[in-house]
């Protein structure tokens, strides 16, 4: 693995401004630091309400942080000034969100071509690439369907390849398979690993599912709940290529699952849980 981390987060903090009648303000993320190596599949796991989405929004440059530093390819990118935010860092950081966020008035193909269109990179070569991604994602025959005519799993695939098509070096993924049934989910995880193994992009994948975090990641970060800090870090020894459906029985999977679960076990009852995201 390359020595230089592609993405580095140092002492990142974020708090929302207080509202009348509430606490003056609450920290969502406090002093969070980690680094992501080039080509690494990093999974981040944390209980719901642990500011995972906020963290990705900050990394994608669509939300400001209150303090700290983010470095992309060793260059500092400002994160605390809303005016200087550059969403997606000039197409260097792709973002696949929880909801598919496909444009409802564009067909599958038009949605996949959309980033190329706005980046002025629409030519026969990129079109061919889009077509081959559509084929690989099993969406052949649905190119001219509108999003509302696709199933949830298909929309997810379309949303994923819409980001893959313009080849950003880093892709952020926010519980992309959260709302799917177990079958579709396993299928999409397999597809994602297959597509990833072709290009070896850097992926930061956020989830609240321990099994998913282990099955997909090279390394897993565990976050604590509000405020979010780094609670633990686990390197995943399970070799690739992995068999997603059979991984549950892998002895190393079980061991890792146990350790992370103990780590995530909530503190004794009594403190009310507050969901933020």
């Amino acid at each position: 693995m390359a020595a230089e981390p592609v993405l580095e987060v140092r002492g990142l903090s974020k708090r929302f401004a207080g509202r009348a009648g509430r606490d003056p303000s609450s920290w969502v993320i406090k002093d969070l630091s980690f680094a992501v190596d080039a080509g690494e599949f990093l999974t981040i796991i944390g209980p719901s309400g642990s500011g995972k989405t906020t963290l990705l929004n900050v990394l994608a440059q669509i939300e400001v942080a209150s303090g700290g530093e983010v470095r992309f390819q060793s260059r500092v990118t400002p994160v605390d000034n809303p005016k200087s935010l550059k969403p997606g860092l000039s197409c260097k950081i792709g973002y696949v969100t929880q909801e598919d966020n496909l444009l409802p008035w564009r067909t599958t193909l038009q949605n996949v071509l959309f980033p190329l269109l706005v980046q002025g990179r629409l030519d026969s070569e990129t079109r061919a690439r889009a077509q081959s991604l559509i084929r690989m994602a099993g969406l052949s025959g649905f190119e001219n369907h509108y999003p509302h005519e696709l199933s949830g799993g298909m929309r997810k695939r379309a949303s994923l390849i819409r980001t893959l098509v313009y080849d950003p070096p880093v892709i952020l993924m926010d519980e992309p398979f959260g709302a799917l049934d177990a079958q579709t989910r396993a299928q999409l995880q397999e597809d994602l690993l297959r597509l990833w193994s072709l290009g070896r992009k850097t992926i930061v994948f956020v989830t609240h599912d321990i099994a998913e975090a282990i099955a997909l990641g090279d390394r897993t970060l565990v976050l604590s709940r509000s405020p979010t800090t780094l609670a633990g870090e686990y390197t995943n020894p399970i070799p690739r290529p992995r068999d997603i459906r059979g991984i549950m029985t892998h002895p190393q999977f079980t061991a890792l699952y146990q350790r992370i679960r103990e780590h995530l076990t909530p503190e004794p009852h009594g403190s009310p849980t507050i969901a933020i995201a």
């Binding site: 669509i62 444009l103 706005v118 313009y166």
Partner: protein, 245 residues
């Protein structure tokens, strides 16, 4: 429909054709009027005024909310005036327009345009305001600039709202033209109504009203066709159940 005609015929028999032109009488007069080209000539003036007024009113009404999208202060200043304009009775402006534009076609077009403008403006504004912020953010992450966002996200998202505005404004545009003709004109369906009324020719009034309704119907069909083309991406309500297939 048959029941409606029966009631109408019944009313005209009960009260006499002086009060209610009979449907048969209206139909024959309408047919002869169409055949002689008389009705068609007057209707085409009304249609021309309504169409021209609609276009002149609707285009800036659609464009303005887009131009104001990034100017919240100017929007806040304009809003009360727009609301006032929306609420003001347009008919009361007719004497002014006659004064400014004369009794010819222009004053009718102006009245239609101003009526249509305010209706479409508020629909288009609603469409621009219901913009999905998340879609915009995602597009920006993918490299879309301000112009791309306006063209590929704000505009298509607002089209259903703009169409709703068109649908509401369309009958108003034809009604506006007819009413403007009622006030002062020497041609058009409104003139025919006025002429019929002055001659106590109730059937002529009904003939002109029927022709007006036909134009509204035609306008609605045109919008249907346009909408099916422009909004094909929207989920269509499932009509199979109703059809009982």
């Amino acid at each position: 429909m048959v029941l409606l005609l029966a009631i109408w015929q019944g009313l005209s028999l009960a009260f006499g054709t002086y009060w209610f032109g009979s449907p048969w009488g209206v139909a024959t007069r309408l047919a002869s009027g169409v055949a002689s080209g008389e009705i068609v000539r007057h209707a085409s003036y009304t249609l021309l005024e309504a169409t021209a007024g609609f276009l002149i009113g609707a285009l800036p009404a659609v464009a303005l909310p887009f131009a104001l999208r990034r100017l919240p202060i100017l929007t806040a200043i304009l809003d009360p005036f727009m609301m006032g304009g929306y609420g003001a009775p347009k008919l009361a402006l007719a004497p002014l327009f006659i004064l400014w534009f004369g009794i010819g076609t222009q004053s009718k077009i102006a009245l239609v345009a101003i009526t249509v403008f305010f209706i479409v403006y508020f629909s288009a504004q609603a469409g621009v305001r219901t913009l999905d912020a998340r879609l915009v953010q995602m597009a920006q992450v993918m490299g879309a600039n301000e112009r791309d966002v306006a063209r590929h996200i704000v505009l298509p998202g607002a089209v259903p709202y703009i169409f709703t505005g068109f649908r509401i404004a369309m009958p108003y545009s034809i009604g506006g033209a007819v009413i403007a003709e009622l006030i002062s004109a020497n041609r058009g369906l409104g003139y025919l109504i006025q002429l019929g009324a002055m001659n106590f020719d109730t059937t002529a009034v009904f003939v002109a009203l029927t022709a007006t309704t036909c134009i509204v119907f035609l306008g609605n069909r045109t919008l249907d066709v346009l909408e099916r083309r422009l909004l094909s991406w929207r989920p269509r309500p499932n009509l199979d159940i109703e059809a009982g297939s």
